[in-house]
Amino acid sequence: MILDLILPRRSKYYVAAFALLGTLFSLAPLVVQWVNYTNPIYAFEDSFVVDKFSIIFKGLFILITYLTFLLSINFIESDKYYQGEYYYLLLSSLLGALIVSSSRDLLTIFIGIELASTPMFLLSGWKKGDRKSNEGAIKFFLLGVLSASLILYGFSLLYGLTGKIVFSEISTFIINGALQSSPVLLLSAILVISGIGFKISIVPFHSWAPDTYEGAPLPVTAYLSVSSKATGFVALIILLTKVFSSAGESWGVILAIIAGLTMTLGNLVALQQSNPVRLLAYSSIAQAGFILAPLSVAGITGNFQDGIFASVTYLIIYAFMNLGAFLTVQLFSNHAGSTNFYEWGGIAKKSPITGVLTTIFFFSLAGIPPLGGWFAKFVVFRSMLSTGEPIGLTLGIVGAVNAVIALVYYARISKVIWMDELKDVDSETSFKFESPLKVVGVFTVLITFISGIFPGIFSYLGEVSSIFFGN
């Protein structure tokens, strides 16, 4: 268990390879834990727990980081960056994510969140020379700090209200004191949701995402759009279910509205994008809406099991296909030397493999069977309709329409790279597809397909993790 925390630390000043090994190796204890898992282990007076939920997400985070490393290697080498720090920062962010996933009190979770996000401020500005990067960084940073402070303020109120910082106690206190609808509680809930809403970039806390994504180095962007988002969601899930679950009706509705807005706005705006990274940014905003929707419904109906099942499943599948999407974008933009995908006409003919990968990932994001995305969308719809709630139904319809809108811009990229005429701007440059990236591609594609064709595995993970919030 502890090993799991320490190990990444060890590999701080060494080069990539060691980081890779470290991360991989740190998977081992997880596996062990999973295999001989009996029941939740609590440490530090219940403030730190190891249950299957946390294990699953630890696994996810570590895998993502691993893939991000793979993405990074060439990228980092291509320019002269401080490598050691790079990996160190990523790892510490990972550590934060790990902490979040098993934290059970305000302090720990806050530390986790901070630890996870602070390094990203730096990483997003990693391209020192590049103004865009700096700009993205500062915006990211300012908003980030603001959000952190809001979260804190919320926490402080919570603490003031209950005098506890361990979730279980807080929730019991709330229930005993019948404080479900006390404005203070609600206010703190709002502050917390907004604060985390920034991390998961939901409307209206999303505005940093496109700029930062565009500015940051691609691997970092990938990490941001996947891992940070996941971290945020984990934190949100924990807080909502463990602390605010009793006030579900009130925040449920709000979240539902937000989710609907987020999908719609994200998709509509994505229609306008010509920069693949910005497009992915907005698409990931829209996806966040999809992930959020089941939670909101869960809040209203109080049936957290379904909601969390859907969200987690979606999160896991989404993580890999989005990584894949970023991979392909990185490959093509490197090759075409242009960040306007309308100039990528017929580029797929240069490297059919990459073309196919792009198609797969983007259509998976669009949710076309047999690619993983469809199942993610499916479970979300399922949980929306689970109880014929009017709000759920409305969300369902909104979601369906959004799925169609999304298709248009996801398909657009495949259309450009396959169907448009090949622009021979740099026909002489041979297509670079380095082996580490190959690994990423293969891995993500496999997961995308498996999750589409045998979704059982992933839905199982989702199911297991949802069990721990069945209350």
């Binding site: 300012l142 206010l187 509205i257 509509l268 229609l271």
Partner: protein, 671 residues
């Protein structure tokens, strides 16, 4: 309201056999032509006679088979039907099969004989013509389809044969499709028939669904025994079936296709008008006669009405035609009018009898006309004349056909027409009787006109016409024999075998056929015929000649009306076809692209437009706008400028906090 006459069901005294092996194998009659057609298409080209021999062989076989069927039928009387199930749908059994009874045997015989002769004739007539082989393919198919139709024991098979005949006619009429007129004529024939087929189709549907079977014999049995099922729909069904018949048998107002069908080669016209196509309608009515008689007598009156209209109208048009084949075409239409009217009047035998005789002499006339046209290379009678000397065989045979048609004894037409008149008279349909007599007069007149324009007088054409090849004249002579003798099989009081042939069926039809000559009818018919011939001869020979003949009877504007065929075609094209083909369809297409598509695309565009709006105004610099609006009034100019400059980072922060505030307001005060 079912009219039902008690003696309708009087079981016939005649005895039948099931026809034995011969009847059992008569399916070969139907199958043979199709197999043959296949062979002609694929190996015909490589044979010495380009496939004609296969066609001839097949049709000869059919002829022999039909003759032998005829023989056993005459000797012992055959009535049997055979079914093959080709699939069940719901409670329905879809069955094909073949029926061997008097009616169909008679038709087999007619088709077999006429077809055989026409085929022989065609081998020479079509010599060296384009698509010689394919011509025989479709000709064989034509005969085959007709056999499908007349041999069918189920309505569905009737429908199939019905439409196959239509398609073959399409192929044959459009044989010279290089010229647009011909293909248009073919289309016209097909479409007109298709329209009529709606009637047939729906009629069949109604009958089938109300009787629960497609077997004709079943339906007839029910229509004579079990009235309840059918009584409600009988009239509708009867009329619809008749509409179908109107199409094929070219009854007014659906006759328009038939004259145009002359675009096809002459043998086709001969076959089509004599045996195969136009008789289909009459055959259908005859086949369903018991149904009409017992369930829908009112329908029969309507049938008769249309028949009479047709026989008169078409006859009148025939007078003004200058195209020899057109004259014959319209005469066919008018003769068909006779048959239909006869059925309408309840004279079942008379109708079939006329069909029978007409088949022979009309085939004769067409083949004769063909031989003439072959000689002078023109259809127009104005370019003929005086051919009596150069083509004696053709002339004599043509004359025989003419008098047969005009109805002078002892030629075939006389007996059949007389029987029809007689039955009109007997039914007390006085007006119709006189119209029919008038029709006889007209018939005689225009035939005389045709003859005198073609054969008498002086030759007005170019080139040197000569008598046709034996391959063409032999069929003429043969048919001439039939044209003379085919009427003798049903002479009232003397020998009425024909009546028995065609009436040998499960339920005997009680209908009028005269025991002896109805002298009134006979004399009036005869006189009319003689007058017609006389007037014609007087106008076109004694007084003046072909050129001047018409002028004496050119009564404007009647003549113009007739020349324009009562403006029917104009009407159809002006008010039905063109609007649909041009205006409506264009409109629909426009609707498709400009309304539906525009709507769809519009939705798409609105979506992306919305995206743009949101992106540019709300998502990226919305706060600017907001602040500008808010600040515009109050702030100082400088302040406004400053605000205008606000970059994005701060907007984001504002948006963020704005979000927080709105949400808190929502939660705390609304929910």
């Amino acid at each position: 309201m079912v009219k039902f006459d008690a003696n309708f069901l009087a079981e016939t005294e005649l005895v039948y056999t099931d026809g034995g092996i011969l009847a059992e194998f008569s399916w070969s009659l139907v199958v043979l032509p199709f197999v043959a057609a296949l062979f002609i298409t694929f190996i015909g080209k490589y044979l010495p006679y380009k496939g004609a021999e296969i066609a001839l062989g097949t049709i000869a076989l059919i002829f022999i088979y039909s003759v032998s069927l005829m023989f056993i039928h005459i000797t012992e009387g055959v009535a049997s039907e055979f079914f093959v199930n080709v699939g069940s749908i719901g409670q329905f059994d879809i069955e094909f099969g073949w029926v061997v009874d008097g009616l169909s045997i008679m038709m087999y015989f007619v088709v077999g004989t006429v077809a055989l002769l026409v085929f022989i004739y065609a081998t020479n007539y079509m010599e060296g013509e384009i698509r010689y082989t394919f011509f025989f393919t479709s000709l064989t198919l034509f005969a085959g389809s007709m056999l499908v139709l007349v041999s069918s024991p189920t309505l569905i098979q009737i429908l199939i044969g019905w439409e196959l005949v239509g398609v073959c006619s399409y192929l044959l009429i459009g044989h010279y499709w290089e010229k647009k007129d011909n293909s248009s004529a073919a289309m016209k024939a097909f479409i007109t028939n298709k329209i009529a087929d709606i009637g047939l189709m729906i009629g069949i549907i109604i009958l089938a669904l109300n009787t629960g079977t497609l077997r004709i014999s079943e339906i007839l049995y029910q229509s004579t025994h079990d009235y309840e099922k059918l009584s409600k729909v009988a009239f509708a069904a009867a009329i619809l079936l008749f509409i179908g018949a109107m199409g094929k048998s070219a009854q007014f107002p659906l006759h328009v296709w038939l004259p145009d069908a002359m675009a096809g080669p002459t043998p086709v016209s001969a076959l089509m008008h004599a045996a195969t196509m136009v008789t289909a309608g009459v055959y259908l009515l005859a086949r369903m006669f018991p149904f009409y008689k017992s369930m829908a007598p009112e329908a029969l009156d309507i049938v008769m009405l249309f028949g009479v209209i047709t026989l008169l109208g078409a006859g009148l048009i025939a007078i003004v035609q200058d195209d020899l084949k057109k004259v014959l075409a319209y005469s066919t239409v008018s003769q068909l009018g006779y048959m239909v009217a006869a059925i309408g009047s309840g004279a079942y035998t008379a109708a079939l009898f006329h069909l029978w005789t007409h088949a022979f002499f009309k085939a004769l006339l067409f083949l004769g006309a063909g031989s003439v046209i072959h000689a002078v290379h023109s259809n127009s009678m104005l370019e003929m004349g005086g051919l009596r000397k150069v083509m004696p065989k053709t002339f004599t045979t043509f004359i025989i056909g003419t008098v047969a048609l005009a109805g002078l004894p002892p030629f075939a037409g006389f007996f059949s027409k007389d029987e029809i008149l007689a039955s009109f008279n007997h039914e007390g349909e006085t007006t119709f009787f006189f119209i029919a007599v008038l029709g006889a007069f007209i018939t005689a007149f225009y035939m005389t006109r045709a003859v005198s324009l073609t054969f008498l007088g002086e030759y007005r054409g170019h080139g040197h016409p000569h008598e046709s090849h034996n391959m063409m004249t032999t069929p003429l002579l043969t048919l001439a024999v039939f044209a003379i003798a085919s009427g003798w099989v049903n002479i009232p009081g003397v020998y009425t075998g024909f009546t028995d042939w065609v009436t040998t069926r499960k339920t005997k039809i009680v209908e009028y056929h005269p025991e002896s000559f109805d002298l009134f009818a006979l004399s009036s018919g005869l006189i009319a015929g003689l007058l017609g011939i006389g007037l014609g001869y007087y106008l076109y020979q004694l007084q003046g000649s072909a050129e001047t003949g018409d002028d004496k009877i050119k009564i404007q504007p009647v003549w113009t009306v007739l020349e324009n065929k009562y403006y029917l075609d104009h009407f159809y094209f002006r008010f039905i076809i063109d609007p649909i083909k041009i205006n409506i369809s264009k409109a629909v297409d426009k609707f498709n692209t400009n309304v539906i598509d525009r709507f769809i695309n519009g939705v798409g565009q609105i979506a992306s437009l919305l995206g743009g709006v949101v992106y540019n105004n709300l998502d990226q610099n919305g706060i600017d706008r907001f602040l500008n609006m808010s600040s515009s009034g109050t702030d100082s100019f400088g302040g406004r400028v400053k605000l205008l400059q606000t970059g994005r980072t701060q907007q984001y922060l504002m948006l963020f906090l704005g979000g927080v505030v709105t949400i808190s307001l929502l939660i705390l005060f609304i929910i």
